[in-house]
């Protein structure tokens, strides 16, 4: 047990050296971080300023540069758990079908008579026909419109279910189509949230999908969760509508295809608009802050090809009429169409400031979220509190470390010193592994490391106590040490596997800081078994070989 072959020795020292090398950047955290940032900037820009080069070169390129990520509770920032109301989209999908259904049923006007949409339930499209007896004809006509759903799970199913209730044709989304729609909604929401968070320009935000309809958003360095919510939640929904008239009465009677929206500036003025917009923000490709001919702040926008064509046709056919630019359900302005506007670009004027046009154009560029988002959980940690936690954690770890080192030497003398060397290597290995796998260090994670410092010596203690016992039966030092390792082995393995089980379960079930704790605890168990079984034993073996003591005291 005490004889190590050369390759085994090399392997053990190699692992230790690698661990220390990988852990080393963390000792110069700020310097390495600045260097990494500068390198990333240089790569992005293609050219380097002298200042950036200096920072990038501050950490030698041949050294590893991965750092332990600091969790939000140490760095400060905001955490949000959002739930996308995917069901919201069903209603607008139903509106989308209405045009098609309307056209299809009009072809059968002779048989089924006049049609009228019923607006009772937004999640279904209910069309009442005049000739109730001909309902089967109407249903058959709508059934023709069904399209197969293209997805793995929904093979063989169609996008809509068509049923009849009395004189009503009822169209609803099929389950397969709902699943497909939900997926699209989530993908789109994630993309938009990502773009908006990126606009804020903070470093390394985390945006992750969780479960079917949730998004986890973590942004280090942002002031508060409120700020983050405002950034994400601002809908900036842009639509253009045909203006039917204006009124001062907020309870004005409307037809079913009309809506009443207030003016942004003068809240006493209401516009009666056509419900279906001519153009929506979906067609927008770009928006920039600009100035109009009177030098007032305005927003320039450009539409995509489809949007440009629709807008071009619309303006050509409606010269002289008013159209309303509606932003978040308020009429920003209602200009008169003076001429055909081809090319799909235009300008939004209104009561804007330069700041508000900048913000508005960002929001317009990012696009509207397809569905409402509600927040289930939010956490803000200020940077000072994070720094306080780092400082407190650092001092506590140092003191704990020093105390354990002293205690081990006092209890086991030279053997305690061997255990201490193993302990130092152990901590280096933990940091090396954390950096290498890009794990996140949280405050409970620091507690996990401190706990590991206390518990890591356990394997050594088990062995040393066993050696003491074996020495009593006087077999000579080498034999006693050998037996000590041999007989303590099963206890070490069983004891550590049980703790590892707890750590693994924490990792699977836990989230955020708790998961951070389980990572350091689990890694700590693995490295401490390695250092106790291999490193300490190798040290003792080398010492025995050099000094060949007649008696030892453990």
């Amino acid at each position: 047990m005490l004889q190590f072959s050369l390759w085994k020795k090399l392997l053990i020292w190699g692992v230790c050296a690698l661990g220390i090398l990988l852990a080393s950047p963390n000792l110069f955290y700020t310097k390495v971080e600045e260097s990494n940032d500068a390198k990333a900037l240089i790569e992005l820009a293609g050219v380097a300023t002298p200042e950036q080069t200096a920072k990038a070169d501050a950490w030698p390129a041949f050294m590893p540069s991965s750092l332990v990520n600091l969790g939000l509770d140490l760095r400060g920032g905001a955490h949000l758990l959002a739930e996308v109301q995917v069901g919201d989209v069903y209603a607008s999908r139903m509106d989308g079908y209405w045009d098609e259904v309307k056209n299809a049923l009009r072809e059968e006007r002779a048989t089924i008579g006049g049609i009228r949409r019923q607006y009772d339930n937004p999640n279904e499209l209910r069309v009442r026909i005049a000739e109730a007896s001909q309902i089967a004809v109407a249903v058959a006509k709508v059934v023709e419109m069904r399209r197969p759903v293209v997805s793995l799970s929904g093979a063989g199913s169609f996008d809509i279910n068509v049923t009849s209730e009395g004189a009503d044709v009822v169209v609803t989304l099929s389950e397969a189509e709902k699943i497909a729609t939900d997926k699209r909604t989530m993908d789109q929401s994630l993309e938009i949230i990502r773009r908006r968070v990126d606009e804020a320009g903070t470093r390394e935000p985390t945006i992750q999908r969780q479960g079917t309809d949730r998004v986890l958003i973590q942004v280090p360095g942002i002031g508060s969760a409120e700020e983050l919510k405002e950034l994400i939640g601002k809908t900036a929904k842009l639509t253009f509508h045909v203006v039917i008239g204006t009124t001062g009465d907020e309870n004005a009677r409307l037809k079913s295809n009309q809506i009443l929206l207030p003016d942004q500036e003068d809240k006493a003025v209401y516009y009666i608009l056509e419900k279906t917009p001519v153009i929506t923000g979906d067609h927008l490709t770009d928006a920039q802050p600009a100035f109009d001919q009177n030098n007032a702040a305005a927003v320039n926008f450009r539409l995509n090809t489809t949007g440009g064509r629709i807008f071009g046709e619309f303006t050509a056919n409606n010269i002289g009429t008013l159209f309303a630019i509606v932003l978040d359900d308020e009429v920003v302005s209602a200009p008169r169409i003076n001429s055909h506007i081809p090319g799909g670009s235009g300008i939004i004027t209104g009561n804007f400031t330069i700041e508000s046009t900048t913000k508005l154009s960002i929001q317009l560029r990012a696009g509207a979220l397809p569905a409402k988002v509600i927040y289930l959980e939010e956490r803000t940690i200020g940077p000072e509190l994070g720094q306080d936690s780092i400082d407190a954690g650092r001092i506590a770890s140092m003191i704990a470390f020093a105390a354990v080192l002293v205690f081990m030497v006092a209890s086991y003398g030279l053997f305690g010193l061997f255990a201490n060397i193993a302990l130092i290597i152990n901590v280096a290995l933990i940091f090396g592994l954390l950096s290498a796998i890009g794990a996140t260090l949280t405050l409970p994670g620091i507690a996990g490391i401190v706990l590991t410092i206390g518990m890591a010596v356990d394997a050594n203690v088990l062995v040393f106590e066993r050696i003491r016992e074996e020495l009593k039966t006087a077999k000579g030092p080498a034999r006693a040490i050998e037996l000590g390792y041999e007989r303590a082995f099963s206890a070490i393995i069983d004891a550590n596997i049980t703790t590892l089980i707890a750590a693994v379960i924490l990792f699977i079930m836990g989230s955020g800081p708790v998961r951070g704790f389980s990572i350091t605890l689990g890694l700590g168990i693995i490295t401490s078994v390695f250092t106790a079984i291999w490193v300490t034993r190798l040290l003792i073996s080398i010492w025995l070989g050099r000094t060949r003591p007649k008696t030892i005291e453990v």
């Binding site: 001092i395 704990a400 409970p444 089980i501």
Partner: protein
Amino acid sequence: MRLKMVPSDTKLDFFSVSMITFGASVLAMIASVVMFFMMGLNYGIDFRGGTTIRTDSQITLDVGAYRAALAPLNLGDITITEVIDPAAQLTGEVTNVAQIRIQAQEGAESVTNEVITKIKAALNAIDPLMTFPQVDSVGPKVSGELIQTAVIAVVLAISAVLFYIWLRFEWQFSVGAVAALVHDIVLTIGVFAVLQIKFDLAIIAALLTIVGYSLNDTVVVFDRVRENLRKYKKLELKQVLNLSINETLSRTVMTSVTTLIALISLFVLGGDVIHGFVFAMIWGVVVGTYSSVFIASTILLRLGVKRDWSKEAAKASGQYANIDA
């Protein structure tokens, strides 16, 4: 001269007082359950939903003034507690940090920006320079899920461990180890009920660590019992247990002391954020050490162990040779 926590050759009889210790443990467990139902746990927002806001002020903390400032906002149940940092107390520094907890608001999951803005404005009226370094808000939906996950995690951890020990030892050992675990968890929950320390997700992590630690201790004793049962085939079970506990006593105390040194350092210097978490672990180490000696072994003694190793002896030793190699 070596520091020795335990004299080299102890021959203590751990079962001479087993009626007292076991009885005391059972009583303590009953008391914990009673306290749990009477006083309840001081659940953090992770488990009951709501919002906590940490305030940091330069002006001397006046809980009454904060309460009065927030009263007109009609936020429902509000608790305001002063945050005490033991490290700051050592240096005599006055921190003026408080934690305000507000119940989950009707009709909203996590807190809305309007409510937060109102609260901040009300408190800034007392001290315009007051800062809010931490704001946490958890909606009822997530808190319900978190409770569920936490319970599953603890149950899963205990069953996994039960299974592992059954695999490596005999079923009697498994029962003994799990009884010790349940003892530790129940007593920890009891202490949290009595002291009304905030019980949140981090405490669940601490509970699971206690599970791991307590087992670590129990397994080391059991490992020795397993070995001695083979070594001294004729010795009475009670004596085998006593011998095993005495032989491992030095190690048990050493490891507990090093772990406690590390934890106490964290408790005093680690800041108030992880205070409850570290407290749970310190308590867990103490009861975990106690339970592996007095609960796990006593149960093992009561259940008895199959002593007829003759049939399996050959197989078992073969298996051992493999593991040791």
